[in-house]
């Protein structure tokens, strides 16, 4: 089958491309240029660097497949970066990888793959797609440390029919070992961890570089409204944050909520962070329709395990109630719902249920 492989220049997508070639597909490799500096230059750090594209190009040459770079900077700006900035200004904690998958990779790129005559779009994500009698299923990646299904929750039947993740049933170690066996130049390449467009420095300095509003000062109060200090922008805070609060109270304090309208950051104790559930908005279901209410597992951050919960789906929003109270339910993050290995769907966390 004619297949478009999205190649970032990392080891995962390199191996994904190699496996598709090995399986006899007619493969085209492509790197997405997602972000650029003010003068249109490619970033030198983070993702999308010229050197990443060069690695992808060289791997494609080694695999003897055609290779192109697609300019998605406009779509990425409007679909990912602008909402990322807006979200922080609203006191939320966005997940740009989710938005990139939603608005760029599995929408625009999927359309372009069709325009190029490709039946399949392949990426190097650690997740599994399986065809069953009841339809397409999305499952966690085999490697529990690498599972990336969380950022793919928005995929539905239409997308899954045309998407493949060839390394989803492998561990990272296996991926690297295949890359080494094939002599791919990306075999020992370092993992990219940061938000790709933020580059050197943290997201706060990125926000500062993009908008003056990130610097709107406000007050820090405790849960009774007692003034504790001041800050220079709600965008510098995220729910659950303990470090760098700029106030010293002798004992650990956490951000428990953020009110963007009054630019107020509220601090509390660890137990004040605990929530009994989360409300999700923009919910999508892999099967196309919500599952019946019942026991599920829910994952509320990329870097935490999923926890048992009760699901109450209700149209475009839904509520999950945790079996045990959970800390750090951050509005803006994805809440993703699993049943065992199967990903059922997910949405954006709208608010915590107290």
């Amino acid at each position: 089958m004619k297949t478009l492989v999205a190649m970032s220049g990392g080891v995962d997508s390199s191996v994904a491309a190699a496996l598709m070639v090995e399986a006899g597909h007619d493969v085209i490799g492509a790197t997405l240029k997602l972000w650029q500096g003010p003068d249109g230059e490619a970033p030198t750090a983070g993702c999308c660097t010229v050197s990443d594209a060069e690695d992808a190009r060289r791997v494609a040459a080694q695999l003897e497949i055609p290779y192109y770079v697609f300019d998605y900077t406009d779509d990425f700006r409007t679909g990912v970066v602008d909402p990322f900035i807006d979200s922080y200004l609203l006191g939320r904690t966005p997940n740009p990888c989710v938005e990139c998958n939603r608005t760029v990779k599995f929408s625009r790129l999927l359309d372009q793959a069709a325009d190029l005559g490709c039946d399949l779009l392949v990426t190097g994500h650690y997740a599994q797609v399986r065809r069953e009698a009841t339809g397409w299923k999305l499952l966690r990646g085999i490697d529990p440390h690498k599972d990336q299904s969380y950022v793919l929750y928005m995929l539905g039947q239409t997308e899954l029919a045309r998407v493949r993740f060839p390394i989803g049933d492998m561990t990272k170690a296996e991926t690297r070992s295949i890359a080494e066996q094939l002599g791919l130049r990306t075999a020992t390449k370092k993992e990219s961890q940061d938000i790709c467009f933020v580059g050197v420095g943290d997201y706060r300095s990125f926000l500062d570089s993009q908008t003056d509003e990130a610097r709107r000062s406000g007050t820090i109060v405790d849960r009774d409204g007692v003034h504790l200090g001041s800050h220079d922008g709600v965008a510098g805070f995220t729910v659950g944050q303990r470090k760098g609060l700029g106030v010293s109270l002798g004992e650990a304090r956490y951000v428990t909520s953020i009110d963007p309208t009054s630019a107020t950051v509220v601090l509390g104790k660890r137990e004040d962070l605990l929530a009994s559930g989360a409300r999700l908005s923009r919910v999508s279901w892999v099967a196309g329709a919500p599952p019946p209410p019942g026991r599920v597992e829910v994952k509320i951050r990329y870097n935490c395990s999923s926890v048992p919960a009760l699901l109450d789906p209700d149209g475009p929003t839904c509520t999950v109630l945790f079996e045990e109270p959970q800390a750090s339910v951050a509005p803006g993050q994805a809440g993703v719902i699993y049943r065992g290995e199967e990903l059922l769907g997910g949405g954006t966390i709208l608010s915590a249920v107290p």
Binding site: T31, K33, A42, A53, Y68
Partner: protein
């Protein structure tokens, strides 16, 4: 089918044969004082004389460079910074990046730079030049023909307008694309400096030249051993210069045939293309464009997708503007012509060259039709 000759065209027959002796036995450094060096030096100076003759210049007015970009840099930065001055630069918004970026470079060093706009066809208005040139201006640079759209600028008129505003300005033109098919001599264009790049007209890559009229003062861009009368240091690329001269000779001798053959091929190409895509839009004026360029907009078809499909079908075309990573970008030339970013992303350049046969035009159009028609 190769339709990207404006990016690079294959070497013309005989060029490599002319170069090869200097890759082997004639390898010596032309600056030495022994017989081996003299052999290389003779070849270099013969090449210089041959090219000077073709351009209507004196051999000492030819400065060999490492290509068109370096020639443009030397012309702009060299003139603006000559004698430790901060001279003014006037250029157009549709110039090649080599000129625009050189202008930005000297601007950062404190030189006053003015960039005049172009009309919807990419043409520069002589009145805009005379308005932009003032007593501080030392160099005016407008390309002979645009590398993307192929529009031919009224260089002689622009040169007159510039000198009317300030008689001491040096007029530079990047003739890299125009030399391929247009009669280009320094007096015909009335310019003081002119850039050429060998690989555009059937010579090797990595060699070009800057014509510098006697009396024009330049600050060198490359500093070192003082070759090229101190205007461009660096060991001579003898083999490259010999190849460039052979290609230039062939280009001039073959020009009449080139214009006829390529003209007929392009006519067939564009006629068939219009039949297949009735809403096709031409981005260059029919009465003032290079014979080898077809630069068009396919309404509703994204050029990035089109280029991949064409490549898969064996057709090499171009979006004429790519960033370092290889992604197609929105062309500054089209933006300068007032085109929206969305429209600019629907434009493709097809360019023909000396190997093109008349029948290639219609064949190419048929390939483009089958490859792109379902995208509309």
């Amino acid at each position: 089918m190769y339709l990207d000759h404006a990016a690079t065209t294959p070497m013309r027959p005989g060029v490599w044969e002319a170069m090869e002796p200097y890759a082997r036995d004639g390898f010596a450094n032309s600056s030495g004082s022994h017989s081996e060096a003299r052999r290389a030096k003779n070849a270099l100076e013969e090449a210089r004389e041959q090219i000077a003759h073709l351009l209507g210049a004196h051999p000492l007015e030819i400065v060999f460079t490492g290509g068109g970009t370096e020639a443009d840099n030397l012309a702009i930065a060299g003139a603006a910074l000559a004698g430790g001055e901060r001279g003014g630069v006037v250029t157009s918004a549709a110039e090649h990046e080599a000129v625009l970026e050189s202008a930005r470079f000297v601007s950062r060093l404190g030189c006053p730079v003015r960039v005049v706009g172009v009309d919807r066809w990419g043409l520069v208005d002589p009145a805009a030049i005379s308005e932009a040139v003032d007593e501080r201006t030392v160099v005016v640079s407008v390309m002979t023909a645009n590398n993307e759209t192929g529009v031919i600028e009224p260089i002689a008129k622009l040169a007159d307008a510039a000198r009317a505003a300030n008689p001491s300005v040096a007029v530079h033109t990047d003739a890299v694309q125009a030399f391929v098919s247009e009669e280009v001599t320094v007096d015909l264009l009335r310019v003081d400096m002119m850039s050429l790049a060998a690989h555009k007209f059937g010579g090797p890559k990595g060699v070009g030249l800057l014509y510098v009229r006697e009396g024009v003062q330049l600050e060198p861009v490359l500093h070192g051993g003082g070759q090229e009368l101190g205007r461009r240091s660096g060991t001579h690329n003898v083999m490259g210069a010999v190849g460039m001269a052979a290609a230039a000779q062939a280009t001039v001798e073959d020009r009449k045939r080139f214009v006829e053959t390529v003209g007929a091929a392009r006519e067939g190409f564009e006629t068939r293309l219009r039949e297949a895509f009735p809403d096709l839009e031409l981005n260059a004026p029919v009465d003032a464009r290079l014979v080898q360029h077809t630069h068009v907009r396919f309404p509703g078809i994204r050029n990035e997708t089109a280029l991949v499909r064409l490549d898969q079908a064996g057709v090499a075309a171009s979006a004429a503007s790519a960033c370092q990573s290889g992604a197609a970008t929105v062309s500054h030339v089209l933006t300068a012509m007032g085109m929206s970013a969305d429209d600019a992303r629907q434009c493709l350049r097809f360019s023909f060259g000396w190997p093109t046969r008349v029948a290639d035009g219609e064949m190419a159009a048929a390939l483009v039709k089958t490859t792109l028609e379902d995208l509309r």
